[in-house]
């Protein structure tokens, strides 16, 4: 496995399965009354968040703490970054403090890639611009596997703002690696121009895709995109690409509904569907912690085995 996790493309099928299997083991711990493992004792993980993201930061923080790592949270607001310090200087500062792992969320695509050239420790991409969010893809795959078993040949439909979505990019790459068949659905304006070079299918017609989907994953669509003419109105978007009761009825019995959050209820998904038993949205959050524990454990090379088994 690579020293860093920057893109889902960094993971071979074996790497990805190892992470998912490790996460499965670690999930057992989450059920215990004492959730903490000594695995990363004495190691330092820095959460470097240049973008507000309470959800992802807390998830990484919980994951590192359950492995007994020392956690330093660093958010751009109120730090030297807001005084004009460069990413490179921030990286050198972390380096001087001896960070073993750096979890970075940044608004600029490629920032984790740049960071990995300036620090010795492992870099974990917690979302960069409109590039990737590989741990989200891992936790999504973990969630699918728990609900549906093996992902080989499973049909996953991802709906929404593909153009601006780092979640879609990472999911397409990882699910392809794991043998699933991905179809992206969006209005043509919300696809990158060269999406036909991606390892997935593309459709503009949600209703046609639903009956054959094992998974439908809804992505957030910001209503403000309407101002840049990506679609005429929020209402029209919802009518054509939103998931409501009528559309859910078109899904096979076993199919699940996913959303990486944050949701725009009433835009891409109706509240009834988001809160229905088919929805895995809350599960995804819980699975985020175990999946990120597995990533940190495997990248930071814990000196002890994950949960006391063989190393």
């Amino acid at each position: 496995m690579n020293r860093h996790l920057i893109s889902a493309a960094d993971l071979s099928k074996d790497d990805a399965l190892l992470i998912l299997d490790t996460a499965e083991e670690l999930a057992q711990v989450s059920g215990r009354s004492i959730k903490k493992l000594p695995t990363l004792r004495g190691r330092t993980v820095v959460n470097l968040f240049f973008e507000d993201s309470t959800r992802t930061r807390i998830s990484f923080e919980a994951a590192a703490k359950r492995l007994s790592a020392d956690v330093i949270n660093f958010s751009a607001k109120g730090s030297s970054v807001s005084k004009g310090e460069s990413l490179k200087d921030t990286a050198l500062t972390l380096e001087a403090m001896g960070a073993d792992g750096v979890v970075i969320r940044h608004g600029a695509s490629g920032a984790p890639h740049r960071l990995s050239g300036w620090v010795q420790g492992s870099v974990v991409n917690a979302g960069d611009g409109t590039h990737e969010h590989p741990t989200q893809a891992l936790l999504d795959a973990f969630t699918m596997r728990r609900r549906l078993g093996n992902l080989d040949g499973r049909k996953v439909t991802i709906v929404g703002d593909i153009l601006h979505s780092r979640v879609a990019r990472s999911n397409v790459l990882l699910l392809h690696t794991l043998g699933a068949e991905v179809t992206l659905v969006a209005p043509p304006t919300l696809f990158p121009v060269a999406v036909d070079s991606w390892p997935c299918d593309v459709s503009y017609d949600l209703d046609a895709e639903l009956p054959k989907s094992d998974v439908v994953m809804m992505l957030r669509v910001q209503a403000e995109r309407m101002n840049a003419a990506y679609f005429p109105t929020a209402r029209e978007y919802s009518r054509r690409y939103g998931l409501d009761g009528r559309r859910v009825d078109m899904l096979p019995e076993h199919a699940i509904v996913m959303h990486p959050g944050p949701m725009v209820r009433g835009m891409e998904i109706t509240p009834e569907i988001a809160d229905s038993p088919r929805s895995t949205i809350v599960e995804q959050v819980a699975n985020g912690v175990t999946t990120r524990m597995a990533v940190l454990y495997l990248l930071l090379g814990g000196s002890e085995s994950a949960i006391g088994g063989t190393e």
Binding site: S86, G110, G129, V193, A194, V195
Partner: protein
């Protein structure tokens, strides 16, 4: 009385070796086996003699950004690259949009002296695209400006562009357009295509260049004026320019060395050393640009030498400045992309890097054939050595080269400006100064 020089056995434009005698700033004689006992001899064996190179597109950054480049450091870089004349772009601070600023740049060039400096005048006041700058005053000034450009910005308003094209006819000027439709390129970071989609970087679509190139060709035809298209970067622009030239319209175009060699897959490193405007395009575009330069559809190579300080490149991609230095590597890159591939011979290089750019910029004393009586603007180039590019040796104040550590062929051995060497034995001649640019 100035020193005479006798270049022994250089291959003029790559042809049979001959001797070149330089005296009183001119080429006194060209023949095999010349005899000139008082002249300083220079061994030219194995070297190619080219007319001094002319760059239509250089950013010297002075006044305003002397931390990135000065007229002096930029002209030293030019001399090391084999250039004897450069056109200094107008996007300085203050903008070169008045006679005063262009005369200041002219004066700085004359003082620095390592090559002729011809200021480019802004088309519009403050490069804002709203109101014409005093084009006539700049044309009539001591700088005798003939090339006008808002480079870095596109003159996107069709009426302003039409008027500029019409107005410069009065003094045989040319409008050099940076073709970039602004709305289609808001927030643009790199070529829009397979790579931008994968990297999640906002795309700069080819159509944003091509739409402006097409419009400007039609405008130039309509008003019967001269248009020059800066840094052509797409196969589509090439097609449009080929069509416009076929109609007999007065359209010329340039391509940068980097667009002849590099493509957008390099952005995969997220290293902003590869961030430039217009962006690096696809391999197909590179191929089309090479063919267009070879067949003359694209008239010349222009460096778009764009010095930037280190801190503006050691950042996230989106934060970084756009641009690359190019003067000191241009000839090597052209050899690699055009000569060693068999697309262009050395006579072709002389045409695309000296004769034609001088003609577009209306220079008389530059871009002349190497003949008896011509001003002795000569570049001696050794195409044989290959070496790794090491920017620490650059004369430019900036180091933002995309070729660091890349092996490139060739080396400029000597550059003569009106009979005086600015570069000898591959190194700058110290304390050089000249009497200043002449057209």
């Amino acid at each position: 009385m100035s020193t005479s020089y006798l270049i022994r056995g250089a291959r003029i434009l790559g042809h049979t070796p001959a001797d070149i005698l330089i005296r009183d700033g001119e080429i006194a004689e060209i023949a095999p086996g010349l005899d000139a006992p008082t002249a300083q001899e220079i061994d030219g064996s194995g070297l190619i003699a080219l007319p001094g190179l002319v760059d239509l597109h250089t950013h010297l950054r002075e006044p305003g950004r002397e931390d990135a480049e000065t007229v002096e450091s930029g002209t030293r870089a030019a001399a090391r690259g084999g250039y004897t004349a450069v056109f200094a772009m107008a996007n300085t601070s203050p903008v070169a949009d008045t006679a005063g600023v262009v005369e200041q740049v002219l004066r700085l060039g004359a003082q620095a002296g390592y090559c002729d400096v011809h200021p480019v005048g802004a088309v519009t006041r403050g490069l804002e695209g709203k109101q014409l700058a005093e084009l006539g005053a700049m044309a009539d000034s001591a700088a005798r400006v003939r090339v006008f450009s808002d480079d870095g910005h596109c003159v996107d308003d069709a009426v302003i562009m039409r008027r500029a094209l019409e107005y410069v006819k009065a003094f045989d000027g040319v409008v050099a357009q940076h073709a970039q439709e602004p709305r289609l390129t808001e927030g643009a970071q790199m070529n829009e295509g397979v790579m931008s989609g994968r990297l999640g970087l906002h795309g700069w679509p080819a159509v944003a260049e091509e739409a402006i190139v097409a419009r400007d060709c039609l405008l130039a035809a309509h008003v019967g004026s001269r248009l020059h298209v800066c840094h052509v970067s797409t196969a589509g622009s090439v097609e449009i320019i080929r069509w416009a030239k076929g109609k007999g319209w007065q359209v010329t175009a340039e391509v940068t060395p980097h667009h002849l060699l590099l493509d957008d897959t390099l952005a995969g490193s997220y290293d902003p050393i590869y961030k430039v405007n217009p962006p690096l395009r696809t391999k197909d575009d590179v191929r089309a640009l090479r063919e267009a330069l070879a067949d003359g559809t694209i008239d010349c190579v222009a460096t778009d030498h764009a010095p930037h300080t280190l801190e503006t490149k050691e950042t996230e991609w989106a934060e970084a400045t756009m641009g690359m230095v190019g003067l000191e590597t241009a000839l090597s890159v052209v050899q690699e992309a055009m000569v060693d591939t068999g697309l262009l011979d050395w006579a072709g290089v002389a045409d695309r890097m000296s004769y034609r750019p001088a003609r577009i910029g209306r220079l008389n004393g530059q871009g002349r054939t190497l003949d008896q009586g011509s001003p002795a603007n000569i570049t001696l180039y050794d195409p044989r050595p290959r070496a790794l590019v090491d920017p620490s040796g650059f004369a430019s104040k900036s180091r933002n080269t995309p070729y660091r550590g890349r092996e490139l062929p060739g080396r400029v051995v000597a550059t003569f400006l009106r009979g005086r060497p600015t570069v000898l034995d591959g190194g700058l001649v110290p304390n050089f100064s000249t009497s200043g640019a002449t057209r």
